[in-house]
């Protein structure tokens, strides 16, 4: 479905952020893309969605294809029309506009009035809280409600692939669980999901497959279950690994050894 092959992205002709990234999202899958701050996760999203230009970024090598068609030269509008919608980091709802108008912006590329109405009803069913606040200004919604609005807005485009950038960021655990359930529901309705997250526990608990990024490339990938059980993932993303009841300190870890293991 979505294939990224050997992708390199440079900002301002100087800063090389993605260094040969390759990943794949198959139809019907939830794929998690994990990594620390600065690993290049959001840049990956920008490259797929055609938003690199806004940040003075360029793809210098590699390809991105969607359903067999190369899309790395597409602008954002064409990418959305091809079936890829996104929920941006930090929600980015149009704070001064109403909930309804925010949802209408998501339907910009959908010219079929019946389909727009169906999508709208679907979003209202999925997020009943939005139905009660349709005429409210989006900026006055709570963080969780804004996240629901951002997801609903993306669904208005009727996507076949939904990319979510850190949807759990800044939300209370209860809301994170709610958002996780929503993502599962969306996937069950037939939309593939690329979930970009730092919250590895949440992402891997619902994903079919996972990739772990470091400094612009994938250093580890595999089935989500396998990654959840991996000692390094547990240690550095889930904080679960202990030695004799004592949590291992980063100081005790030979970084180069870990790197070697990531890369093997």
């Amino acid at each position: 479905m979505l294939e990224i092959a050997n992708l390199e992205v440079v900002y301002n002709d100087v800063v090389l952020v993605l260094r040969g990234l390759s990943l794949e999202v198959r139809e019907g899958q939830i794929v998690a893309l994990l990594g620390a701050n600065g690993a290049g996760k959001t840049t990956t999203l920008r490259a797929v969605s055609g938003l690199l230009d806004v940040h003075e970024g360029d793809i210098t090598k590699g390809t991105i294809s969607y359903n067999g068609v190369e899309i790395h030269d597409n602008d954002a509008s064409k990418t959305v029309r091809s079936g890829i919608a996104q929920v941006m980091e930090g929600r980015r709802v149009f704070a001064e506009m109403t909930v309804d108008d925010n949802l209408r912006t998501g339907a910009t590329t959908n010219k079929n009035a019946t389909s727009v109405k169906d999508n709208y009803d679907n979003v209202m069913e999925m997020f009943p809280v939005l139905a009660t606040r349709r005429k409210d200004t989006a900026g006055y919604l709570s963080g969780g409600e804004q996240q629901m609005l951002a997801i609903g807005r993306a669904l208005m485009a009727n996507p076949t692939l939904l990319i979510l950038d850190e949807p759990s960021l800044g939300l209370a655990p209860l809301l994170v669980a709610q958002i996780r359930d929503v993502i599962v529901d969306i996937n069950k309705q037939g939309t593939s999901v690329l979930l970009i997250e730092q919250n590895a526990n949440m992402a891997l608990s619902i994903a079919d497959y996972g990739y772990i990024m470091e400094t612009g490339k994938v250093v580890m990938d595999g089935d989500a279950d396998k990654l959840l059980g991996d000692e390094d993932v547990q240690e550095f993303y889930l904080g679960l690994h202990t030695e004799g009841g004592r949590r291992k300190s980063f100081r005790d870890v030979k970084h180069y050894k870990r790197r070697k293991r990531w890369l093997s």
């Binding site: 954002a76 925010n102 590329t109």
Partner: protein
């Protein structure tokens, strides 16, 4: 009896000043609306707005008087219709000029510092103004409007036909804009105004939005320029000074709020009424000088900014606390 007559004449004076103020305010509102739409959608402070207004007025003169298009093909139609169609052609052509200007000079500057873009519009102002003045041969040109100097009386209120037409067109424009911002394209323009990148992520073509905003903005500037050059107020027609009307409308834009459509209308009305009222009631006070009525809107603008920095209707940034 005498006191009653004096009081009656005072009421008449006030009512007529108010009516003229509203008509002048309608011109300012048209100019302010165009300016606000461009700023709202693109964040560009368009210093070429006055020059575009003058270009619109010149084009009416060219089409209605010089070459008589489309009037020469429809001699059967009444004068007012022929002139209105010439004005419509001029407004549409000005809108196209606005879109071309945006495509060539503004769109390549997306993401660049706003100061640089403002400087570009300053250069555009000079280019468009000089070109229009050359076309005018640096003199005046009548617009051939059908309004004449006919005055219509509504009780104590006396308005000339051009003033009534200005108010009527402004009302229609405001209604059309209210409708437009509820359409799919209008919602896209508003979304782009708030967050360009997020709008792009929804599939909105920001370039298209910019073109639409500049087209509408230029068309409204043209309407402002046209109505400032017709009737008794604009008896001299379009002139090299027509472009300066935009600077007189600037307090209206600021008082209303740079990004508010309702504010542009309210600001226009406030400034128009204040200017005429000041001219009517303070014109005889010699120590204030002859140009005091032109200063009043600026004084009010400063007072409003001290109390409400975003203007009366400007959008205050919503931040999570």
């Amino acid at each position: 009896m005498i006191a009653q007559a004096v009081s009656q004449s005072g009421v008449d004076k006030f009512v007529n000043a108010l009516g003229s103020g509203v008509a002048l305010g309608a011109i300012y509102a048209l100019l302010a609306l165009g300016f606000v739409i461009i700023f709202k959608a693109t964040q560009v402070v368009n210093f070429a707005h006055g020059a575009i207004a003058a270009l619109g007025a010149y084009l009416v003169s060219y089409f209605a008087v010089t070459i008589n298009i489309p009037g020469r093909w429809m001699t059967f139609a009444p004068d007012w219709l022929q002139w209105s169609l010439s004005a419509l052609v001029a407004v549409l052509l000005t809108a196209v000029v606005g879109m071309i200007v945006e495509r060539i000079t503004i769109r390549p500057m997306i993401g660049e510092p706003l100061f640089a873009i403002a400087m570009i519009t300053l250069g555009l102002d000079l280019i468009i103004r000089t070109t229009t003045n050359d076309l005018l041969d640096n003199t005046n040109a009548g617009l051939g409007d059908p309004f004449g100097l006919e005055v219509l009386t509504f009780g104590a209120l006396r308005l000339d036909a051009a003033q009534i037409a200005t108010i009527g067109v402004t009302i229609v424009v405001v209604l059309l804009l209210m409708w437009f911002f509820r359409t799919r394209t209008g919602v896209a323009v508003r979304a782009t105004a708030f967050d360009q990148e997020a709008a792009m992520a929804q599939g909105i073509s920001v370039g298209k939005v910019f073109a639409i905003a500049w087209g509408i903005g230029a068309a409204l500037a043209a309407l402002g320029g046209i109505f400032s050059s017709v009737g008794s107020r604009g008896a001299a027609g379009v002139s090299p000074f027509t472009a300066l009307i935009a600077f007189r409308a600037f307090p209206a834009i600021i008082i209303g709020g740079l990004d508010s459509i309702a504010g542009a209308v309210a600001g226009g009305m406030i400034v128009g009424v204040l200017e005429v009222m000041a001219g009517t009631y303070l014109g005889g006070i010699s120590w204030l000088g002859t140009g005091f009525s032109g200063i009043v809107p600026w004084l009010v603008m400063m007072a409003v900014l001290l109390v409400k920095p975003y203007g009366l209707f400007g959008t205050e940034e919503i931040r999570r606390v």
